[in-house]
Symmetry: C2
Subunit: 633 residues, 2 copies
């Protein structure tokens, strides 16, 4: 008998290789980041939205024909104004919650648990959409540069998602520094391309691949609704500006100062990029084009489809994939907070071997993968769903901050409350605009999903509360009292396996009974007689009872027997099921799965202790068997 654990399977070893060995809690490097590193660790989601934000505006405007395209500049300016308001609002969130101020935490703190569920549901939807949009946009950048990859859009999306998932299951200790280089290439490269385009475009008149997709006659007049639609579509560029406020504890001391500096930096860079792209798009009359994103067109017109274009395009794909990480950093932590507050299954609060919340990572990966498959990897299909969740979070956070300032009344609280109040107001208006203008184009999905998540949270919470009452959590329970116990050992014959199980049974209690289930058939009497005589010869000091059945199932009569014992005997009933446990997993099928069926059947009957007592069959036996080809009997 060996106490060695079973050899790990090949699948398990490969998996270990992929995600790495278990980590100690202390091994999670608590790296502290600078503002520039903060851009790469916390702001990629926001920065990379230039890859789809301007495009979303232009696609909406194009519906009204080529002449409407000049509206791209005023719409973008209004979005940049909104960005500025958000940046200043979130700098105040950093002041108020230097421990990290996610929408869920801020809302819970200021409005109580009920309203916080709205924030939580909005965030869950939003995180999932961010992953899907970022990856879809990254693959869009890739297929714009290399059109031959376009047919493989969905597989490429899923491959990137898988890679991001595995990276996150490994844990992201080294993230910020690893992301720094591509982030810098992206920021500097794109700003440089925009500058070239503004000052002296190199390839403005070079032919672009694909053909312009403008309606032959405008499908819609230019009106307030169109402008609002373009504005809502463009607001997808603002998603992610809240991430820095969530991650304040990651910064070097003085943390809030550095975090606020990062927020400002993000605002300036993102604003410059959006404005620059809008000016170029307006000046060059950029329209939607088949097989190419708007960003790809502008870059191609500014510097030509040469090395600079390809370097920045590939970097955009990379940073968009990394942007998905913002969500992978966010949702699992949010899920763990919700699980700790009893709003999600507790398994989301368990850390995996790599100290990450692995179940949350899996859940996010599966949800966003399903979304990517559902929309066929098309960014523009996802845009109408996007931003609603984010802006709901914005509004709740800012409104929460107003309450926070009124409560605490620190210096200049009125001024602070006014800034956050403005933020809450404009984002609330924006959210309503989104809902109205994009409802039929997909926003209804969010309107269904958010309440559905809230309902789920509430039901789970209510179940846990009931369970806690039943289990008496928080109370001191009555004193435990032991009875004596009676051990039942199902046996099929006399062997060392039987001896092993009965020895273990006798260790538990002197009261042991062996039970054999005899099927009623022609030769059953013989077999029973034989077993009896073997038992008597062995004389183990334990009675043998025979239970007869007319049915094929052995489990049902044994369960009935145990139930009879439970009703008629005062003892605690313990059932020990002898089990042969071969060393190799693939050999297990060779042993009757009867013990499994039996233990499952008995386990449904609470109040009985059921254990399988395995007797090891060393691998040697199987190995030797393989060498000798002939049957041995």
């Amino acid at each position: 008998m060996s106490s060695e654990p079973r050899r790990p399977s090949v699948a398990r070893s490969t998996w270990r290789l992929l995600i790495g060995p278990p980590l100690r809690a202390k091994q999670i490097s608590q790296e502290e980041i600078t503002p520039v590193e903060g851009l790469s660790a916390l702001s990629l989601d926001a920065l990379t939205s230039v890859a789809y934000g301007p495009e979303a505006i232009i696609v909406v405007l194009a519906v009204a024909g080529g002449s409407a395209l000049h509206l791209v500049l005023p719409v973008t300016i209004s979005i940049v104004v909104l960005l500025a308001i958000l940046v200043f609002s979130y700098r105040q969130v950093i002041d108020a919650y230097p421990g990290g101020g996610g929408a869920y935490a801020v809302t819970k703190d200021n409005f109580g648990p009920r309203v916080s569920l709205l924030a939580a549901a909005a965030l869950v939807v939003d995180y999932t959409l961010t992953v899907a949009v970022s990856i879809a946009a990254g693959v869009g950048a890739l297929t714009s540069a290399f059109p031959s990859l376009a047919p493989a859009t969905v597989p490429i999306c899923l491959a990137i998602l898988a890679a991001v998932t595995v990276l996150n299951l490994r844990g992201l200790g080294e993230t910020a520094r690893a992301f720094l280089l591509p982030t810098m290439v992206f920021i500097v490269g794109l700003l440089a391309i925009i500058a070239v385009g503004l000052v002296h475009p190199l390839a403005l008149h070079a032919p672009q691949p694909g053909h312009v997709e403008l309606p032959s006659r405008s499908l819609q007049a230019v009106g307030i609704l169109l402008i609002l639609k373009a504005f809502s579509a463009g607001c997808s560029a603002l998603t992610g500006v809240e991430a820095i406020a969530n991650g304040v504890p990651l910064f070097k001391d003085p943390k809030p100062v550095r975090a606020k500096r990062t927020e400002l930096l993000l605002g300036v860079i993102l604003g410059l990029m959006l404005l620059g792209l809008a000016v170029l798009a307006d000046r060059w009359h950029v329209a939607p084009r088949s097989g190419q994103t708007v960003l790809s067109q502008i870059m191609g017109m500014a510097v030509g489809r040469h090395w600079a274009y390809y370097v920045v395009s590939l970097t955009i794909t990379l940073v968009l994939a990394l942007a998905a990480n913002t969500s992978f950093g966010g949702l699992p932590v949010l899920a763990s907070l919700l699980a700790r507050d009893n709003y999600l299954p507790h398994l989301f609060a368990l850390r995996g071997d790599r100290q990450v919340f692995a179940n949350g990572i899996w859940a996010l990966s599966i949800m966003s993968g399903a979304l990517l498959i559902a929309v066929g990897g098309n960014t523009l299909t996802l845009i109408p769903l996007f931003a609603i969740g984010v802006f709901t979070g914005f509004t709740l956070s800012q409104a929460g901050l107003v309450v926070h300032w009124r409560r605490g009344r620190p210096q200049r609280w009125r001024h602070r409350a006014a800034i956050n109040g403005l933020g809450a107001l404009v984002t609330a208006v924006a959210t309503i605009v989104f809902l109205v203008t994009k409802f039929t184009e997909g926003a209804w999905v969010v309107v269904v999903a958010v309440p559905a998540f809230i309902a789920l949270f509430v039901r789970i919470h209510s179940y846990y509360a009931q369970t806690a009452r039943i289990l008496g959590i928080g109370e001191i329970p009555p004193k435990p009292h032991g009875a004596s116990s009676l051990v039942v050992v199902p046996v099929t014959g006399v062997s060392r396996l039987t001896e092993h199980a009965i020895s273990q049974a006798l260790s538990i209690s002197p009261q042991v009974v062996a039970v054999n289930v005899a099927l009623e058939s022609d030769d059953a009497e013989d077999r029973v007689g034989q077993l009896r005589s073997q038992w008597d010869r062995w004389n183990p000091g334990v009675p043998l009872e025979i239970v007869r059945t007319e049915y094929a199932s052995v489990a049902a009569p044994l369960v009935a027997y145990v139930d009879r014992l439970r009703r008629n005997r005062p003892e605690q009933i313990v059932v020990l099921i002898p089990t042969v446990a071969p060393d190799r997993v693939r050999l297990r099928i060779l042993h009757n799965q009867l013990d499994l069926v039996l233990s499952n059947a008995l386990r449904a009957h609470t109040g009985v202790i059921v254990a399988r007592v395995p007797m090891a069959i060393p691998a040697l036996a199987a190995g030797r068997g393989e060498e000798r080809p002939g049957p041995s009997s």
Copy 2:
């Protein structure tokens, strides 16, 4: 706490409805059949092979051009001669083995276990092929009659397979009589159509759907190899003539007499059908035709595509599906015999709730389903693989009979041995012909599969033999001896769940220790201090030990703790894991699966008794929770 079993799930209830309630062993109706019923119960496999046998001959001959088609008659005559030899040989098998003489049993009896494995492997391959060929041919008859169904060939095949599988999982008590009507319609209908064709064809010159598929120039000269190939292809019509000899115990007394009468009846009917079809095919120069089987062509030419054609075509589909039953009656029983002899996993010897060998039925269904998918439901692709297994079985049975007669030396044993010897000889020659002529067309699959099955049987047998030695099966083991025991209860807090588990632990042994695994983190010390003070207030009379870990996994340190105990303490270690068991399956995900992880981790360490002690959470709690929408805290 309830001892009621959990409610069955919807899936389980539906399944029960499909396959019926459990049956008592006595409830299996031991119906005894007459020769005519014997045809429907045991001979459908053989009779229905007229649906593909003649076609297989004509397809082979057509390769040599239209002029070779006249060879169909002499080839068929030689096959019918072989049929006659087989019928007389098997009538003798019935005499020798009135208890049922399958090839495996006869071979084992006369040549010992080693040779019998060859028979067993050949039979396994053959049964699988019979199912696939019968269903594919049945669907071929269907799509000949209704060409629009042709694109759905594979799904229709799988649907029929699923229906046959479910019927067999229900148990086939009422089979013979239920099959009688379609069998009679098939025999009488087809013989009548042949008679019409021979005497006065009604629609000889009516246009047939599809176009003739003859090579523009003959691909092969008419030679001995072509004739041998046509002969081997046609021998697929002889599969199944052994089934009656296997099923002797099913007949009314005097069983052997009635079984022999059935065998003769089968021979006469099958011979007449084969000859009749060959005469018509020869006379009418029937060639392969797209989208139509040969049988369908002949029927169409004899009586026109009117009601008689459609009735018999549909009946052929039905009886071919029923013919697959011959295998479903055979393979599971063979597998159970092999399992009892330790050549297959013992689970094949277990009867299901309906008293059938459910695992064998599943195995056959999965193997033949895979085969049908692999060949796309095409009968002709399967024909070269077919018959080799059957004829190997024929040869082994007949040769075994020769040994049997020589051993027993009953009256006229020389005469009897001569008949079986002739049978063995011609089937052996036929098997070699098959192997040579069809090797590259698919027979090699059988040449690989049969030894592979034999190797599998031998390895399994050898493993079981080793295991039996280790378990001391057949010996009287040493007397069992009990030690005292020490019960370990992993706890996470103080609650009624803890109390329940510790009460049960105290019933097993006065020595109980509660263990808490504390993760080393910032707030861990607080939590440990809190748990300690709660424990002291409760004062359950059981010590609480704290095990500390730096890793995320709770299972690993607990396993290490239990291992330490095992090494240092003389007692039998029992681990009782407290578990919350909600009444509804879908609620289980709400409880930490920690107990599952833990019990799996500990179970790998043999020598420790591991049991989860569930505390029931009644469905009420969840139900009440659903009615109240608000969170309760």
